[in-house]
């Protein structure tokens, strides 16, 4: 029972060997549970690193956010005048992106269902709907158009594990690289931090 529960929490790509190693080291019972609690976060983080393409996630995040801002300009302009209005608009895109990243990490590389590209953003948007961070009409229009665009992006640029490979190399090698945009990782982090800070400043003090 414990082993089955732990198995569900480990991404399928690493489940076999990690669960086997844990069983060999700890046997069965409470020790297995304690060790699993320590190991699983590392395994999930490593899987996320392997399956997530930062450039694509950034593109998807900006697309979703733009959809929500445009929907707000069209239907709920007063929301933008309130404190943290712009920041509230970022909550739903964050929920969708987190769901997409986790869904890709937990995807089984042996199975490739045709609707995988669609399922994760739709599930993410459903969770965002349940959280309801902005008024319902905004969620419907911003979410609908945003999800549609993200699904199209995922069909055009499939998740890393699903990309066609011409050689027997790790799928990770096909990641888009920020270096090609003349931007190192530190620079990219700085730009993202600056964008978030700008968003918060606009959200707090900017009144149209």
């Amino acid at each position: 029972m414990i082993e089955k529960l732990i198995g569900v929490l480990i991404p399928p790509a690493a489940r076999e060997e990690v669960l086997g190693d844990l069983r060999e080291r700890c046997g069965d019972g409470a020790r297995l549970l304690r060790e699993a609690a320590r190991v699983i976060p590392y395994v999930v983080a490593s899987r996320i690193r392997r399956t997530t393409d930062a450039v694509v996630v950034l593109m998807q995040g900006l697309t979703l956010y733009t959809c929500f801002v445009l929907a707000a300009l069209w239907m709920a302009r007063p929301l933008l005048y309130t404190d943290w209005g712009f920041a509230r608009l970022a909550i739903a895109p964050c929920i969708v992106l987190a769901t997409v990243i986790l869904a890709d990490a937990y995807a089984d590389p042996k199975k490739r269902p045709p609707l995988r590209a669609m399922a994760a953003p739709v599930l993410g948007m459903a969770l965002a709907f349940a959280a309801q961070p902005v008024p319902r009409p905004l969620m419907i229009w911003g979410g609908l158009i945003g999800t549609l665009l993200v699904v199209m992006m995922r069909l055009a640029i499939p998740p890393l594990a699903d990309r066609r490979q011409t050689a027997r190399v790790p799928a990770y090698w096909q990641k888009l690289d920020l270096v090609s945009l003349k931007m190192d990782f530190g620079g990219a982090r700085l730009m993202i931090a600056a964008a978030i800070l700008l968003l918060l400043l606009i959200s707090r003090w900017f009144r149209l």
């Binding site: 082993e3 690493a14 076999e16 060997e17 990690v18 669960l19 086997g20 190693d21 069983r23 060999e24 080291r25 060790e35 320590r38 190991v39 699983i40 976060p41 590392y42 395994v43 983080a45 490593s46 899987r47 690193r49 392997r50 190399v169 790790p170 990770y172 090698w173």
Partner: protein, 122 residues
Amino acid sequence: MAKPDNVGQFEQLVLTAILSLRDGAYGVTIHEKVSELAAPKPVALGAVYVTLDRLEDKGMVASWLTDPTPERGGRAKRCYRLEALGERALQESAETARRIWDAISEALGQAKRPKWEPVRPK
């Protein structure tokens, strides 16, 4: 010939463990060997998995699944072996470590100490 990426200290430990374990290198044994090499610092099993994944992505190690065994609850092991790129990275690290060792010995006036020569196991 491709130039190997720089490897960090923990990556060096994992590569060394794989090299010394040869055919018996999988999660549990690699963790035990790395813990032995890194003593007295404790090493998390999860950190070993993360590093193995990263080294595989860099093309320094290769992995394969073995047949399931009963002591592992009928689950397979993922075994690892060093690739040429990993061997070269490890050699470069050993040479750097030797230069550092020589410089330290010279600076501290301990030139009488035997010179450390890393030997590659056959």
